[in-house]
């Protein structure tokens, strides 16, 4: 397919083979992002991918842009400095649920609050994959992990609700199960002026799937379909702000959940001078 050939030009063949496990959804998500970049015809020299630590963050090394594989949880802070220094760059943050919501939660909420001009793609597989399957702040209550052998006792974060509350001006949820929809969300996120956040539900058959008897990749992707519902922005907003916790419970909303026009921070700061206000 012509589209697939397009995407391969963004990869670094010298970095192959990659580290992802068979059945892992991360590759599907990356391809959706690369198709979005191709569709928008972004100049690869002016695309920067900043990532933290974890399986998803390793993807930064595989793509032929300006890539920064930073420290655990700190990608939004690195990306903030880069975007402020170079507002001309398209800055994409790749993070995972442990990276972004546990160790990096502080940086994530503040990047959202400032409305830093970047697309943040949070790969949520509900577990720490790279370190062997420990419980994450997104692991559903009752699910098993190596550090929750009798089931997780902690309530999980809803990343999208968190980001809306923190001030992100574009918030969406996508699925590895729906790569074409995800691509469209990435296009909208890349076009957005300000902090665009997309939580992508992806699967970890090797650890989360195995420990919780959820099957392999295909079964886990099909479960995404069963447990989610695509909704329009208005309904999603209502459901998210007033609804019960996402898990366990009713179907999780997908699609664009929140969008508002707010000045992008790098532009605000450049315009801001002594005696003036933004």
């Amino acid at each position: 397919m012509a589209v697939a050939a397009d995407v391969r030009r963004y990869l670094r063949p010298e970095m192959m083979p990659h580290i992802l496990c068979p059945g892992c959804g991360h590759g599907i998500v990356l391809q959706a992002l690369l198709r979005a970049i191709g569709g928008l015809d972004l100049d690869p020299d002016r695309v920067a991918v900043v990532a933290g630590i974890g399986c998803s963050s390793r993807l930064a090394g595989y793509v032929d842009f300006c890539t920064l594989h930073a420290t655990h949880g700190r990608a939004p802070a690195f990306a903030t400095g880069l975007k402020l220094a170079r507002p001309d760059l398209t800055v994409i943050v790749i993070t995972g649920d442990g990276d972004g919501l546990a160790i990096g939660g502080n940086h994530l909420i503040h990047a959202a609050r400032r409305n830093m001009g970047m697309l943040c793609l949070l790969f949520n597989n509900a577990i720490y994959g790279m370190t062997g399957g420990q419980v994450a702040p997104t692991t559903p209550q009752g699910s098993r992990a190596t550090t929750a052998p009798w089931g997780n006792v902690e309530p999980p974060f809803d990343a999208c609700r968190l980001m809306i509350a923190a001030g992100a001006s574009f918030v969406a949820r996508g699925l590895a199960y729906e790569p074409l929809t995800l691509e469209q969300l990435c296009v909208e996120g890349l076009r957005h002026q300000g902090f665009a956040f997309i939580e992508v539900l992806t699967d970890c058959p090797e650890f989360f799937g195995r420990y919780n008897r959820l099957g392999r990749g295909p079964e886990m992707l099909l479960a995404q379909k069963r447990n989610t519902a695509a909704v329009g922005p208005l309904l999603a907003r209502k459901a998210i702000l007033g609804g019960p916790p996402a898990q366990p419970g009713p179907a999780l909303s997908t699609g664009v959940l929140h969008r508002e026009a707010r000045p992008e921070f790098a532009q605000v700061l450049r315009a801001h001078r002594k005696g003036t206000s933004a």
């Binding site: 020299d45 090394g61 032929d64 300006c66 890539t67 690195f78 903030t80 400095g81 402020l84 700061l269």
Partner: protein, 374 residues
Amino acid sequence: MGEPRLLPGNEACALGAIAAGCRFYAGYPITPSSEIAETMAEFLPDVGGIFVQMEDEIASLAACLGAALGGMQAMTATSGPGFSLMQEHIGFAAMAEIPCVIVDVMRGGPSTGLPTSPSQADVQQARWGTHGDHPIIVLAPASVREVYDLTLRAFAYAERFRTPVILLYDAVIGHLRERVELPDAVERVRRPRPHPGPYRPYAAPDGEVAPLAAFGDGWRFHVTGLAHDERGFPTQDPAVVAALQQRLQQKIEDHGDEVTQCEQVLMEDAEVAVVAFGIAARAAREAVRTARREGVRAGLLRPITLWPFPEEAVRAAAGRVRRLVVAEMNLGQMLHEVERAARGQVEITACLRADGEPVEPEEIMAPLAVPSWR
């Protein structure tokens, strides 16, 4: 020279940074360093620079490194507790070879310690605070004017060696107002750009440090805190990793003569010498003067560069004098280095103080004036 003015050390640091070409500052408020951030916030926008107050010190240095990869010269400033938080990214900067300047205005510790009192207790943290073997340069000014001058040098070294450089001084130097005449113009530090064509950001052609391209300027490359090859791609190949470790270490060690500076005061005929840096060296200078008046041939060795430590100068002095007195405001952090450098050649007396008060000339005078060898 400009007009004489009364300037506190922290302001001199900010002005030196701007003169050097620093156009990005990210920081988090902490006593006794906050005036640096406040001065940068006031003046950076006027020169087209960026000031941003981040959510913590971890993020502050992260933002600096992001900006440095975007081609800007970047600085942050903090004190002990914040310096502890920055260690993670000092290591990243050392490994990924990203130039940056970190100011640590030392206060009493450990932990929250003595927020408004001076200390010199971060000597070893500045060298070894982050995990793993890594290169570092640490400069220790002793006056307001020297804060300005060493800030300029810090940026020059950061760019030349692609390394984090730490400016280490204490609350007294930071808040002390002194009459200074700053130069009208100084040469701005420039970052070399790579040649067009294939780019290896971690190669060392002819033992030199490869230029660092800026993101967005046409060179696409990978930056990681993982051990990496010359292209910046992760590797676990023992030969490549060993070469990387060696190169990181050597790139500064090989230029020790250029980087390591140590002031020598009245050392020609000294029979006893004080080793002291920063604010303690000012008390030591006074003590040496008094000792001379009383007939003791005293001298002063003042490390201006703390790391790489001026081993040669200390060793040479240890071979000449009858006693070294190490005066510092901690419980003996530089003392270890002096003992190591002296190799048992000489009697070493420690004059240590870690109670939040600056060391007094009289305290240093006491061990100088005990001529046990007479």
